[in-house]
Symmetry: C2
Subunit: 338 residues, 2 copies
DNA sequence: CCTGCTAATGGTTGCGCTAACATTTACCCA
DNA sequence: TGGGTAAATGTTAGCGCAACCATTAGCAGG
């Protein structure tokens, strides 16, 4: 047997190693770490010293198993390359970190199948809560969540049943298109990539607005499923100008595409907004810096993360879902590109 | 007592629920899930059915506790807003996912203190391996890692002891500055933000190069600790032109700043590269799209992720650290901005 | 017909921790 | 002084799973 005064050689110090070292019982060490005010200051100090001397780091697995609480929250976003979701993550993290929750962050690559796979993997951690982007889960994913019985908050969109924080993508698409119409444009195009749920809804809003003035025309829509990128924005602009040379405004489904479109116009000597107005979506940092500065929809993505975390915390605490839906709105930011 | 045919109402199905359902022992279920070829196909099938019917999801905490292996890998990067690290993460994930490792992804906000805090939190999961960015950990972080006895691979930089994958930031900074010198520029500025280790090393390389031709001048350096952004790039360019109006080339420590500088030049009517050459660092996607296209250093960040994961896998498997240092190099991408 | 092997399966134990209950101690007020 | 209370600490059991060891069945070889 190993020397009882030292942690066993094979592994790391455990609670009872610390307990032995501090000459108290294991549960007292547990309390000293988790509910310090239930332990006398004398013992607490002795325990703290023992913890430091042994380099003790608690084992979350054991704690989770014993306490039936993992203190982790799973977060699934479509992509970490998209600043929108990173901003949301930051909001979540800001809100959840102080409570000791640890995030399991994963990206789905905009794929429902990957989402299900990741979800299954994360549920193995028995998270106390789950944050998802959008509602387009597979049947399997929904079944997993139902079985798990874990609180779920969906982000970005509205109109889901259950807890949900976001804004109306349709209304935002509509509002931006209305702005272009009010500027006098009548041949407004919609350029989209990465055709996820939200991009489709923005297109929906676009179509609503142009139809109202009888300006809908399939040639004015360019949509490809490829991942969005600045380069693609330029390419799609080229394609658009070929199939609808008379268009006078472009609504890009996100800022990246809009930047690419603007760069392409610069190369082709197309005046923006004189000959062609260009608008984006999301208001990423750079959109205010580019020339001409980009008109876009500012989305409250950071706030969505914060609010989603709040809602989740309430749900974990067992509070009744007062208002399941939280609409955080959006705002139109008009700059020089329109 | 609860009906033994059904999982208990209070919680989720466990291994023994599945075992009961399939009329086998718990350990057989465990084997059917983890080492399927050690179980007869008949039982395996029965177990699979039971798993599906009960919606069983294994509990990683319990598994980790019993098997003394968590099958998780902790990854710490400075920021998720920086595409460089997201690309690295993707490389890591691609390599580690097939092995069933799950990533604990965290950002440190470029702060060694946050890094230590996150590291401590992640070590509570008893990860099988740790991936860190750079080497600037605190004493505490180093002590934590030493105590944990977990394999660690450091990314991005070179010249650490231990396992390490990256490229020489100094040489890259030097190479880019040499390029500007060869283009005939003699008043080359260095503009930097987010003054982390890597940015300082690039500056070091810059200084080496300009000193060789006697062109070093403190007025040609603008460095602020603020987080890097496109907007800041424009601002710093303004500051630079004020304190060194005669400079004829700018080496920005990253692409974001360079974009901002180019936009600022556009606004001021400064010809790039005629009046002022501008170069960046990292070769992010947009750098090829902007006008003029940006000269920059292409960094093998995705490959760094892959290689770091490989090195870590080997270390976890207990293979001797053959070559602790892996230099993946970089390449100069010359475009129109210089 | 027995030995020795392998493949398939099960029983027991313990991973590190905390919930629940039990116990001890100190101290207050009637 | 005794009964009561609250605060501090300990004891026991068990979370869900896999390591370890045992057992059984089937079969080849002498």
């Amino acid at each position: 047997m190993s020397d009882p005064r030292h942690p066993r050689a094979s592994g790391r110090a455990t609670l009872s190693d610390v307990a032995r070292h501090a000459r108290v019982s294991a549960i007292t060490v547990s309390r000293a770490l988790n509910t310090p005010d239930k332990v006398s200051s004398e013992l607490r100090e002795r325990i703290e010293i023992a913890v430091r001397e042994l380099g003790y780091v608690p084992d979350r697995s054991a704690r989770a198993l014993a306490s039936r609480q993992s203190f982790t929250v799973a977060v699934l976003v479509p992509s970490l390359s998209n600043a929108v979701f990173v901003d949301t993550l930051r909001g979540i993290s800001e809100r959840l970190d102080p409570f000791g929750y640890q995030l399991l962050i994963g990206d789905t690559g905009y794929s429902a199948e990957v989402e299900e796979r990741r979800l299954r993997a994360y549920l193995e951690h028995r998270p106390d809560g789950v944050l998802l982007t959008g509602q387009a889960q597979t049947e399997g994913a929904r079944a997993l969540l139902a079985h798990a019985g874990v609180p779920v908050v969906r982000m970005m969109d509205l109109s889901a049943d259950g807890l949900c924080v976001g804004f109306s993508q349709i209304k935002a698409g509509y509002a931006l298109t209305r702005h272009l119409l009010e500027r006098g444009h009548r041949r407004i195009a919609y350029v989209a990539a990465q055709l996820d749920e939200r991009v489709r809804l923005r297109g929906e809003g676009y179509r609503c607005a142009v139809r109202e003035v009888g300006g809908d025309d399939p040639r004015l829509e360019v949509a490809v499923p490829d991942p969005s990128s600045v380069h693609l924005g330029g390419e799609l602009l080229g394609r658009l100008l070929q199939q609808a040379p008379d268009c006078d405004a472009v609504f890009c489904c996100n800022d990246d595409l809009a930047w690419g479109a603007i760069f392409e116009c610069q190369r082709r000597g197309i005046d923006v907004p004189g000959r062609l107005a260009i608008a984006g979506f999301n208001d990423l940092e750079m959109s205010a810096c580019i020339n001409p500065a980009l008109t876009t929809i500012a989305t409250p993505r950071h706030q969505i993360g914060v609010a989603a975390a709040d809602l989740l915390l309430a749900a974990i605490a067992g509070e009744p879902p007062a208002d399941g839906q939280r609409d955080l709105g959006f705002s139109l930011v008009v700059r020089q590109s329109t």
